[in-house]
């Protein structure tokens, strides 16, 4: 029995040492296509590591959650959305005014504690794919203007959601105007 145990340990060690080397020497074999069942494979092998999203530093316990901060600053009129004309991404006069206020807030003692994502949104008219590109241009013009007012670009990210995330779900101009916006979202602490 002693011998058995010794052999087992030896074998295990050998296997441990040799396995990786053996595995490396194996020629790459492309597996044959597996039989596909009627149901498509739903368990994705996801793409390799995703870039990490914004992470809250947790050394100091924050007084407000980011969502609470967002709601509070929006409620005080310190931070607000920027609206666009149909099919357009250039800044209207009201958009420049709004962006100036947003910039002031971002430079203030309170606002400088945060980083932001500017989301570009579109109304449901227009094609899905073009609207994703258009939303990107909307968030970009907003970011460029804010940066021109002296806010560091390092504190922003942009993303376009096209017409995928409407704020208002009716099909009329009042609603569409609300959906054609660049939204400033607090996504981290600087």
């Amino acid at each position: 029995m002693k011998i058995d145990r010794k052999w087992i340990v030896m074998a295990a060690l050998l296997a441990f040492v040799l396995a990786p080397a053996c595995a490396k020497k194996e020629p790459e074999v492309i597996p044959p296509p597996p039989p596909v069942t009627e149901k498509a494979p739903l368990t994705d092998v996801e793409p390799d590591t995703a870039p990490a999203g914004p992470v809250d530093p947790v050394e100091k316990k924050p007084e407000m959650s980011l969502q609470e901060a967002q709601a509070s600053f929006e409620g005080q009129g310190l931070l607000g959305d920027v609206f666009y004309d149909f099919d357009k991404y250039d800044l209207r006069a009201d958009a420049r005014e709004r962006l100036a206020k947003n910039a002031d807030f971002m430079k203030s003692a309170e606002g400088s504690a945060y980083t932001f994502t500017i989301e570009g949104h579109c109304d449901e008219r227009g094609t899905n794919e073009y609207n994703i590109a258009l939303g990107q241009s909307r968030s970009t013009t907003a970011m460029d203007y804010i940066a021109s007012l002296g806010v560091s670009r390092g504190r922003f990210k942009t993303i376009s959601y096209g017409e995928e995330r409407p704020f208002c779900n009716d099909s009329n101009e009042g609603c569409w105007q609300k959906n054609r916006r660049a939204r400033f979202v607090i996504t981290g602490r600087s």
Binding site: V36, E38, T140, M143, N169
Partner: protein
Amino acid sequence: MHRSTINTARRTATFLLLLGWGLLPLGWATGLAAQEPPTDGQQSSGLEGGVDPTIVVDERGRVQVRMAFPAAKIDAGLTGDYLEAAREIEQTLRDDLDQTIVFNTQGPTELAVLALTGERSQDFDQYKSLGNQVVLLASIAVEGDRLVLDGWAYDLPSKQSILGKRFRGTLGQARLVAHYMADALHYQFTARPGLSLTTIAFQSDRDDGHQELYLMDYDGHNQRRISAHKSTSGYSDWSPAGDALAYMSYWAGPPGLYYVELASGKKRPIYREGTLTLSPSFAPDGQRLAFGHSRESNVDIYVCDRVCTDPKRLTRSQAIDTNPAWSPDGRQLAFTSSRSGRPNIYVMDLDGSNVRRISFEGDYNEGASWKPDGSQIAYASRRGSRFRIAVTNLVDLETKLLTEGPASYEEPCFSPDGGRILFSLRRGKESQIYVMNADGSDWRQLTHEGNSSGADWSSFKQK
């Protein structure tokens, strides 16, 4: 009109092609369970060489075959699931033939006026008396656990056999068996594959509200999900080999491009630098990819090779340039640009030079799809408050509208034979995928669940 015949070389090619299919693993491409090739496409015994069928080619060069297709002979011993599957095979074959412009088929209903005797020569004369050039006789039986479909086509004037094929498949492969027979017939009469074995990729929010990738057979059957990213994913483009898709996903945050290999379901990133990458389009050789891409800027058109580490920028306008579509000859890209103030369709050479606008009607033109012969581009063209499917002829820039109605019609995509066009029909936020003939006739709704859009038709090569 002129008469034409199919030559011996064509018949030989048909046979070799079918022989080739029999050797390939087929199950994965169609999503049907298959441990072994489901169909073998062998020449049925008793076929003595055959004759050249009498074929009429119309003024547009299209083959038109008037074919009698009486009720298939279903083995009297079949019951239960097998009988049901046999009926599905027959119905699917009828639907397949009905959906190509090649065959003008008379079925049991039209043929009921005939007083058939069971004597072949006399019956053939009767089929011919209704204007048919060809008759298709089909029989369905069971061999072990597999269904067997035999099909024989005869030239009615000469009463000689043209084609004899046998395809076998399991219960779950009933539709596939029929699709193979339809494709064999299509090839016999046109020397080109038909659409019955092609696949359509699309996106839908039907399962949990997120847009995910799906596949369906060309006729809308067998719809199956192939992604579970739980974030907007879609706008896919088939690899020319038909074994993979490139698509966009918000899966990792900023929208980027991914690749899914359909046999394994494995996915990997293609390109996701910058803030936004979207609308992939494979080059016809499958070695390069064009797409829209933004680095904190307006979207521009980029091209990269398979590795895609260093995409090359092709457009440098101040406007939005996006949604590229590689021309079938691989030499040009069609794309959408707002450089005129509104989105319009442009075509450029691969080095970004020789840019010319091809859409001049409507106030918003977007989403180019090349006809596979390179002669036309289809796109969505807004007229008033809604989109219609427009087709512009690239020789004289003549534009035709193909759709009319109370909805918005967007995202056209040509079938690989150029005969059909997929599109999305939108009413407000609701969207479903339809298919029509390339002249705007014969609409069929392909999706019904949730919202579906972004349809892309595979090539023929995926078998």
